[in-house]
Symmetry: none
Subunit: 415 residues, 2 copies
């Protein structure tokens, strides 16, 4: 079953707001096993709305429209939809009564006349009571096609969709969709695609698809089946195969778990504490760790040592090392990590030093050169990276690599 | 001139990510005086991409597509677009050279063969070098229609669009559009809209439009005119009026200047140094400051003191204060800021302590309660905030308010 999602509202076309409704509806539809082939946003313009609705009703089984159900002159979704589907608008006594009740409960001195238009519905449709606003949702079926019209404000849309539309969609579905996430760090998107080329190409159901994220790649395996159990059985061998090919580079197979969650989970599991000493990333690594609720068990303190003086004072990096090798060097990363361990007594410590640019690079030490040291059990290992991109991108990649280095160091030393 | 915006990516149709690109591009197009009638999102499916591209090229002057330019099998935007426009793909020597350089600088053991497809471009098109990724942007003109293809990742898309596509769009416009940004911190979106209601409603040219950002509101005044001088003359009285209404709450009127840029600019101007002591924000404030290139002149070190012990050890917050008032209190924020000043000798110091949630809140101290102290000239002022939203949102708002407090403290004490 195919649903086409349509948002109506000129404010979206002007970029005044981000269309979060689309993401919400798409995710829910995917979970319900309903395919979405197109998301379309159109302004409050009768001609373009008509064209959009006609196209959607032609190519999809269900057209789901949000927005344009309010009482103003601009709100035309219901009128245009009824016109396109060839249905007259009639007053719904139940909705009229709800509106009257609403106005009685909300001290209005006078009820704007145009509000009553919210009680008009396409003949024969199903009315979905809106608990958080005046415009009801509508399900309109005709000639094997369905239009679902819902209000745009998220606080009205979300409960209406979850409580009344999802059960309707499920009742129309023969198959369900199930998907499995695999999160990989340490390979580029094209490397992952290359290593999985055979699976990506040949697999139709389940499908295998890689998604690039900053410093990581997410691979999604998606199966359609009669029930969840069967879908999971179809996914299992593919998941095993992907695990074989990427091994330790897979940091999680959970949808909602990100890299810092895994690091904090491992730290808790092995009862370890962590501390950070950051130069070019300037606190971003600590901030990513603190993103995780409940991090206080494992993370107590961190240092941002942007100047050489701060590196010496807070981390006891030696003057000689700074002079001989420069602040961006393998040796300084090493001393930052071990100095951090000495200062904090944390079990695992990371030191990051690098050139984020745009200035400060040289032929010998170009912008993007970053050293990350990790101190575990009094041993420090240092990795050298060459990142591309602007200042922000270089810093973001540094943090992702530092988290991955933390993850691998914990597993290597404590597993 | 009408632009149709198209996003390509099955991950959008599955609801894996929110389509923030659409909002960015729509806002920029509106600002450039270009009309957007439709935003369409389509999956990585050749047939549906073809239909979408054909429709867009029929009904709009320019089709702007983001996503699907990567090296994987799924990335088909360029191929389908060339096919729809009837152009062969040819190798672009310049892009090939850039790819080779990229791989040389990034120690790859072998270059995946499919990467070279990123050097193929539709014959006769204009290639836009991508400073933050491998896939270049492309401008393809044929038979009075234009297709603009850009990579999907925001960190690649935004600079490419701003630096190379906007000037192209401007060159195609008969009238020029001139706009003036006013950045406001300290008022909510509805407060700003309320205070500017008369200007927003009555003004047709120039227009006045507010945009909500996390912790700030941006107001854009946009004029259409025959030339820049005339447009600026139209904007001037409105800008003056907005300045009158918001005064000190306006932190910048420059498009590219953000809050941390202003803070670093002021610190440099008055030859001041800054240091940070962060609890709930865990390094985010330091990281925002370090976002600014050249910050080393004014920022040398910062502390992430997540535990009470760290607050005591690094900032000398007194045990009694922590015990009597709790870690999230006006008194601890004050001692964090003054302790930071003592430890670092910086001229301006900020201390942040709060409850970011989801746990740790109580009736007396609910989630979202944040205290920010600012120490200047041995005097500490502390502000109390009650933020709404999830852990991340609360932390982001805290950092924005801390930067604004820094800005106002510097101006009040040194101007």
């Amino acid at each position: 079953m195919v649903v086409e999602l349509i948002s109506v509202g000129t404010e979206l076309l002007l970029g005044n707001i981000v269309n979060t409704n689309m993401q919400f509806l798409s995710e829910k539809c995917a979970q319900a096993g309903v395919s979405v082939y197109y998301q379309v946003t159109v302004g409050d313009n009768p001609e373009r709305m008509k064209e959009t609705f006609q196209t959607a009703l032609n190519r999809a089984d269900i057209m789901l429209v949000t927005g344009g159900l309010g009482p103003t002159e601009d709100d035309l979704t219901k009128e245009i939809c009824a016109q396109v589907m060839g249905l007259p608008l009639v007053e719904d006594a139940h909705t009229r009564a709800r509106l009257e009740e609403f106005f009685q409960n909300n001290i209005y001195t006078e009820i704007p006349e145009n509000n009553w238009k919210q009680a008009l519905v396409p003949e024969g449709c199903q009315v979905l009571d809106n608990g958080n606003g005046m415009a009801p949702g509508l399900i309109i079926e005709k000639d094997g096609k369905t239009a679902i019209l819902l209000p745009g404000p998220p606080n009205e849309l979300y409960p209406l969709f979850t409580e009344q539309v999802l059960p309707y969609l499920a009742s129309k579905q023969p198959e369900i969709i199930c998907s499995q996430m695999v999160k990989i760090c340490g390979y580029g998107e094209s490397q992952v695609a290359d290593k999985l080329a055979d699976l990506i190409e040949t697999q139709d159901n389940p499908t295998v698809a890689p998604y690039a994220k900053t410093g990581e790649v997410h691979v999604r395996v998606t199966a359609k089946a009669a029930n969840e159990e069967e879908a999971k059985k179809m996914i299992k061998p593919l998941l095993k195969e992907i695990k074989n090919r990427f091994g330790m580079a897979i940091y999680s197979t959970k949808e909602e778990e990100n890299l810092e969650d895994v690091v904090v989970r491992l730290l808790k599991k092995y009862e370890l504490t962590v501390s950070t000493a950051e130069s070019c990333t300037g606190g971003m690594l600590a901030a990513r760790l603190v993103n995780v609720a409940g991090v206080s068990e494992v993370f107590r303190e961190g240092f941002v040592t942007y100047s050489n003086k701060a590196k010496r004072k807070l981390l006891d990096v030696s003057k000689g090392t700074l002079k001989q090798y420069g602040a961006v060097s393998r040796q300084v990363a090493k001393e930052m990590a071990s100095g951090c361990a000495f200062a904090t007594d944390a079990d695992v410590c990371v030191g990051i030093t690098g050139i984020a640019g745009p200035d400060g690079g040289s032929e010998e030490k170009p912008v993007g050169l970053v050293y990350i040291g990790c101190c575990v059990k009094n041993k420090v290992s240092v990795e050298e990276y060459h990142f591309k991109g602007n200042r922000e991108k270089i810093r973001e990649q540094s943090v992702t690599k530092a988290l991955d280095l933390l993850r691998r160091s914990i597993l290597e030393n404590y597993k």
